[in-house]
Symmetry: C2
Subunit: 233 residues, 2 copies
């Protein structure tokens, strides 16, 4: 019990567990940010949009905290092999989670503009995209926790659904704009919201790719010919 | 000379130098991708846009190579303090460079559509934004090489110029669309190109922030109240 080496190992295991818990907590927060951003749009609730924007500070604080935990772990314990991959995965995942948070803020910023005008049409595809993107974030972190490469690969496959919905919106809205010029600012706002959701799904895909790297010890990024185009980031 | 420890140190220094050189090479390539993407738009050169899209594979290959170099360095040499920060900076910088490359591809994809229709108006602000964004990438890596926090901070300050140009375009183009519905698809395309350039500048800002972290040993991300809003990623 008083063996200092054993104490160090216990401390190290504790710190790894804390890192993991902090990443999951950040994931929960970011999932909530996506849901609240799109709810503030659909329910035309500008107060909720402003609260969501304000809450981004907490996302940013967690990003810095996770980076520091990872760096401390590397510096203090110089972990090898599996643990090294785990910590590097943490460094990459927090960047993606933070940028998902930024995209939720961007949705809220467009929402504040959109809520000042009458609705263009009921939102159908946008909440559907948001729900897929949110579930991709959730499952990518679940795959991270369970070291489940198959689940991570399922997340990566789901990215196409979001891309297709985004493409559909991009084909549909310019027609509104062309028929009635008064709709232009609203339609442009919705185009951007769609693009931000598509990007959130891309970040979830990045996380899932990191999980495959973590589990299999090799990178699969840039190997997915199915996607066939660059992922906007 | 035959001292194995000394040999290890020389090998380690060589590998750090190779990592650095590879990052700069990736930076050059990505700068070129930005320039070619916007040139293909301005000169209406769709062949150039397609070549730029194809060249993204090289960017992706370098991203994987840099990640692997960083992980090997961490695993084999377990560096401490300054070198540890350097390698972590490398891991983060390559992610931003790779996503800058993706945004250049996205510009090319819009260019292919825009080039099929007559020009809406001469491109003035877009090449200006591209030039600022490209120089931000260049200077952020120059700051990285020289460990120059002041230059990195100058890059961060320049992000506002790009944001302002993007905002200007966003205010201007919907007026075209409202006056003449036939312009809608073209104007929407240009709005997206502007947004992609704005995002490239954000990634250069991220790199500059990492350089400040590298030099000063503390993170300045999320501390810039001037920017006052989330950076889209």
């Amino acid at each position: 019990m008083n063996d200092p080496e054993r104490h160090t190992i216990i401390k190290y295991e504790e710190e790894l567990a804390t890192l993991h818990a902090t990443l999951l907590k950040m994931g929960d927060l970011v999932e909530r940010q996506i849901a609240e951003a799109v709810e503030s749009l659909v329910k035309r609730n500008s107060a909720q949009a402003r609260e969501t924007i304000a809450r981004d500070e907490e996302v940013n604080r967690m990003d810095v905290e996770i980076d520091e935990r990872c760096i401390d772990l590397l510096a203090l314990y110089q972990p090898a092999a599996g643990d090294l991959r785990l910590i590097i995965t943490g460094l990459k995942i927090t960047t993606d989670l933070e940028r998902i948070g930024d995209n939720a803020v961007n949705i809220c910023e467009r929402t504040l503009g959109l809520n000042q005008e009458p609705p263009l049409k009921p939102y159908v595809d946008i909440p559907r995209m948001a729900e897929i993107a949110r579930s991709m974030v959730k499952d990518s972190l679940e795959a991270f926790t369970r070291r489940d490469a198959a689940l991570a690969e399922a997340v990566i496959a789901r990215d196409d659904e979001v891309d297709n919905l985004d493409r559909q919106i991009y084909l549909e809205l310019p027609r509104y704009m062309a028929e009635d010029p008064k709709t232009v600012p609203r339609a442009a706002g919705i185009l951007f919201v769609s693009k931000f959701l598509e990007r959130i799904a891309d970040h979830a895909t990045n996380i899932a790719e990191m999980v495959v790297f973590l589990v299999k010890g090799r990178t699969i990024r840039h190997m997915d010919v199915r996607r066939g185009h660059a992922e906007p980031a």
